[in-house]
Symmetry: C2
Subunit: 383 residues, 2 copies
């Protein structure tokens, strides 16, 4: 607990402990019950994320947001709500379950927005919004896209089914999770290989422990496109307009990679992108072809991906070849790397199973893969 500050101006709990009449010892008691404050800081500092949301909000300003009603699901500090208010929304419900809602309320007051942005402290399922909304905006994505600790996508879908007017806008509109085999020799070497020679001493006996320590859990880290051993494949596509909450349960996705180069295969990398398209049922889009191709291969376009309809949808991508975000990428390392040749095939499947456990929700990741005539299973848990 934090006990003291050099200013008592905000504190009720000052007490004098000095016996010098001129002096007053200032002690301020503060105890905020915040949930993972660091993530709010990382999000606020993530310009790629914030600029993508802001660009998308401005793109849809005239058609969907101006003079309309918005709900921000899991609003955190309220920055997306403020972007919507700045884009002319008549009213924004900023719904946040953690105590950061209390600070978000103060942020709205400080920026003279408390009339237009209504901060609601609770889950969107419970807060009792008594009108239909035109727009849902939310940043619900986790490193493995679907399964953050609060199942925020589930809340978005609940809001969609209960609150969104027909033809309303959901931001983002769709999302895709990718997988690719990766070679990460520098990182592997710095964590593992140095034990083989320490001041001329053979400490290889430590290697199994080092592997367990470094790579038992999935690693969130920044990789580069040159770390990829093969073109990525899609693990899961999510259309926020049409997906059902049941589709977020456990699922299995097959993959088949052909290695582009001779290298050491250290692990599987995951990342995602989200797109900010308008609703496909809106008049302008009703005759447009489906947004997503049936191909398992992603497009290789940049931060903005060209759609088949005239408006280019804003894309927020966490891919290794895109500007870095606070999500970085996620890697499940193999316990022992595999040397592969150019043209070598890696085939198998990934199964993602979310579940609620006593010490917090988890995603169980099961990777089955064949390399040559050998088959392997690698399981990991994302907390």
């Amino acid at each position: 607990m934090e006990r003291a500050t050099d200013s008592g101006k905000d504190g009720d709990h000052q007490r004098q402990v000095s016996d010098d009449d001129d002096e007053e010892t200032e002690i301020e008691e503060t105890a905020y019950d915040f949930h993972d404050f660091n993530i709010h800081q990382a999000v606020i500092k993530d310009n790629v994320r914030n600029e993508a949301y802001r660009a998308a909000i401005l793109q849809h300003q005239d058609n969907y947001i101006k003079d309309r009603v918005v709900v921000d699901v899991g609003s955190g500090t309220g920055i997306l709500s403020i972007f919507c208010a700045q884009a002319g929304a008549k009213r924004v419900y900023a719904v946040e379950d953690t105590e950061i809602a209390l600070q978000a309320q103060k942020v709205m007051e400080a920026n003279n927005l408390s009339e237009r942005v209504i901060v609601l402290h609770g889950y969107v399922e419970d807060v009792g919004i008594n009108e239909k909304v035109d727009v849902i905006v939310s940043d619900w994505m986790d490193q493995l896209l679907l399964y953050n600790h609060e199942n925020m996508l589930g809340s978005v879908l609940t809001a969609r089914d209960r609150l969104l007017k027909p033809g309303g806008l959901i931001m983002p509109s769709n999302a895709t999770l990718y997988i690719a085999p990766a070679t990460l020799p520098d990182r592997y070497s710095s964590k593992i290989d140095f034990w083989r020679n320490v001041y001329g001493i053979d400490m290889s006996a430590m290697v199994p422990w080092a592997i367990q320590d470094a790579y038992e859990d999935p690693c969130v880290e920044k990789i580069k496109s040159e770390n990829l051993l093969a073109l990525p494949q899609v693990v899961k596509r999510v259309d926020c307009y049409t997906i059902n909450i049941q589709e977020l349960e456990s699922f299995k996705s097959r993959f088949e990679f052909q290695c582009l180069t001779r290298a050491t295969f250290h692990g599987f990398a995951f990342w995602f992108d989200v797109e900010f398209s308008g609703p496909v049922t809106s008049p302008a889009d009703s005759n447009a072809p489906p947004l997503q191709s049936s191909s398992n291969h992603p497009t290789t376009s940049g931060q903005k991906r060209k759609r088949d309809d005239p408006i280019e949808a804003i894309v927020l991508s966490t891919a290794p070849d895109k500007p870095p975000t606070h999500w970085e990428q996620m890697v499940v390392y193999l316990n022992n790397p595999i040397d592969v040749e150019q043209g070598h095939r890696i085939e198998g499947s990934v199964t993602l199973t979310p579940n609620q456990e006593e010490d917090g929700p988890k995603v169980h990741i099961r990777l089955e893969y064949k390399s040559g005539h050998r088959s392997f299973v690698r399981e990991a848990v994302m907390r």
Copy 2:
């Protein structure tokens, strides 16, 4: 739990799950019960630390180590034991309580040292070494010097009282904990001030939460000498040859700093150094003056400090102006910074109180300080 590798060669728990006769799915069950493996890795990679110990061992090789018996208290991976064996020790007891001892045993075997380095899995108080030793070597230091989670200095003093021959060598021989007020504007700004303007939005309401999140606990971080606002002062000196275990209980140390420059005072920085002198009771040193002056001010010498006797003692320093170590420095931030002028006095005291608590040992840090006519109290807990 880690479940799979691409090689079953070390595992007993392979099972076949493929229905293809050519293929075999390899799953290896591993579950090491290690304690904070990361610290072993940080220590092994800390060249400043390792080279200081090695240089000290070589310096005392002829007089104290060659053909003698050594005990390494809390030996970890056993690197200091190996240095002693390489310096000609007849026998080294590597005493380690955590399961890293099992790997250290394998390291000794891999390096053909298992005859001379005897790995003992347990506390030095319990392992039953049945001979007196000539040398105690140990790396027992924590960021706050005295109070690591296992009270290793306590074990060193127990080993000294029970096992060390009269005139024997203790490495390190003495240690000093320092304190200085610091100005850390860049770090403060990046953690706190950016909330004041986020895309033109005033998010100052988040500042109290940000301060609590970033600075409630002491921060272990690398600072530079230009971050110091005043010359450091000694909090505690420890002479490993003479100190009693009771002296490691709670103690209070007064300080009085005079600021060298106009700046913002953000927090108190702590660091330590240790020295590898021979025993003062040894024949060569018996007429030498005491090692430590009574001054509260540290010397300003470099990594090697000149002693009054002819041998220059090796010093391992974690000071901000010295090459970085894995200990870095420790900072207790003020909740609200104070602007100070050149010549400004900061006086007060620091009280360190170790205690064992259910969720692990802690050190309670109480800083009382006066700046101008105002007095403050800042408490923090080091886990």
